[in-house]
Subunit: 363 residues, 2 copies
Amino acid sequence: MTAGTHGPRLTPGPSVTISDVAEAAGVSRQTVSNVLNAPDRVRAETRERVNRAVSDLGYQPNRAARSLKSSSPRMVGCRILPVHAGTVASIQDRFLHALAEAGQACDHHVLLFTATDADEETERCTALWRAGAVSAVVLYDVTPHDPRPRQLVAAGVPFAAFGRTATCVDGYSWADVDNTAGTASAVDHLVAAGHRRIGFLGWPEGSSVGDARAHGWLAAMDRHGLLAQSHRLDVRGDDTMSSGTRLMAELLDRPEPPTAVVAATDTLGVGALHAVRHHGLRPGEDFAVVGFDDTPAATAVGLSSIRQPIEEVGRLIMAELLRLVGRNADKDVDGAADSLHRLLVPELVVRASSAPLRRAPGG
Amino acid sequence: MTAGTHGPRLTPGPSVTISDVAEAAGVSRQTVSNVLNAPDRVRAETRERVNRAVSDLGYQPNRAARSLKSSSPRMVGCRILPVHAGTVASIQDRFLHALAEAGQACDHHVLLFTATDADEETERCTALWRAGAVSAVVLYDVTPHDPRPRQLVAAGVPFAAFGRTATCVDGYSWADVDNTAGTASAVDHLVAAGHRRIGFLGWPEGSSVGDARAHGWLAAMDRHGLLAQSHRLDVRGDDTMSSGTRLMAELLDRPEPPTAVVAATDTLGVGALHAVRHHGLRPGEDFAVVGFDDTPAATAVGLSSIRQPIEEVGRLIMAELLRLVGRNADKDVDGAADSLHRLLVPELVVRASSAPLRRAPGG
DNA sequence: CGGATCGATTTTATCGTTCAAGCCTGGGCT
DNA sequence: AGCCCAGGCTTGAACGATAAAATCGATCCG
């Protein structure tokens, strides 16, 4: 026994080693190791005896020792952003959960860290990787001019990103959600429900995600030949509920108001719903609203929303990281796949706020 | 050099070992170790030479090796809950961030894992601890009849809890937020602003947190001698915005409506605000609303809210874990403190929705 | 002047696991 | 009989860091 005491231990403690198991089963360390890692090398009878000892003692292989020997910590690092007062509906928690779950399926865990800015984040990533604390890291919310991918590539840290930079084609793996396709599908849905004048509530131009969502609306409206009828029905403001309410009220006061809007976020969408009700309209019957991100708030108020397939993103990113570090371990160049570039299509979740119109508007 | 190549390495790689540094500085491994862990044992000149080699090579001590030797992984485990569709405003992300930040201050990290239920959670905690992957774990959202603390105590896993069980006095460390004091302080605030008829919007009886928040309102109203005037002004419903709107509208339609309400959550509070506006009242001028949890939504709509000191909880829990595992390492009984039992008082954040009345109601 | 002392550094041993090589036994082949 | 081989298991070494012990000079003191 490693710990000096004799007799059965009531609380097995963190220190049941492979030698303890070996002694209990009357075999050597290596045989125990073989039972766990290459069972076919061990005679069935011995295997059974060892397995019993393992479960009797509650043996868990020490991860530090295993990491040290295999030089793979079976961990991926990910920064957790502070909950910013301005940010209303974050999907970071969903992402982290998805990542943790995907990792768990292949005995990997997520290590959290914090940072005050992008530079500190890449520094910490590099330090964690050099320290062998993680075999790779994940970048969350990568934007078009994000410096982080470049920095990590330069540092040689294996990583995959949720989101992508403008010049993302080269050098690193990413998965992203097609925001443009999301708002476009919302427009298609509303057109199919009979709407012709469809507005858009968005963020001020300049944010990548916001612009992509605005572009999806614009392109889809154009495709349906509805841009002329919806002249200047896209309005922009901050990502707050009151902003959504104000923008929506502004649209409803126009001479030819829209009969539906696509909002760039659930926050704006929820705000819009209030303005709609305030104008005496019934959401889902007289007027339709679609939000974005499918946050719990959308569920709560029955707001149709575009749901990002975060769980899928988590799985893809985790699988890609395993491939990256695995490939490095095998050979440096085994040809085949280079890196992951995957654009996922979000899915519209239809709720009461955009149920098909009972009467066609104006009909 | 560990890796077989010669010459300066462009990407230092994860495998710069203490021996590489020692060779570069022309000293032995142990001297490098001393420079890093006990600098006073090394002559200033040597120390400087070693430090230069450390930064030249970008050396980071290998965490697995350090864990193995010190038998302390410098990690704490915490389950991340799935984002439940029903849960509207979670503070789990704030908690995880606080925990990660508090840990980082003392070179500890947070390891995330998922579980489908409480039993699986304790199993995973035990396995992680036995594997030496974490030195302790954190329980989030512990409720009065939670089985987890008992199970972890039985398994001998060091832990600290956010929240507490009904019979929490024994055996384990926790930090919790005094929900009762929170709603009570909201009542005090509203009374000081001149309100006399103050309502309460809460969850159906049976949830610990909900009951505590309801009790805070009740006790404070009684203390101010206002219960008679506020006869049956506490109403209950689901934790959704629409529920908040409905309940608020119900109260406003009473013959003697309240002039203010305390809501058990921001979700209910935001819902209530809409009902208030719908009745032609101006929040903060004609009517006051206070929410709970200070979620980003409250900031967005200017809702006064009771903020849980999560950052403080994170710091306390992390400090307690360090004490627990440190004590274990030193001696088993070094007397002094037993375990942490800390009830923190939340803080009211006053915003426009409950700014002091300009004219006393009814005056 | 010899032994003690002290500071600075090196050597040794160890944490728990796994890879590589070694050893033993019994059976099949010549 | 002697030889080889393969299956089944054990021993030795290594991963990287560090506490403890050993070494080596140099200084000090009786």
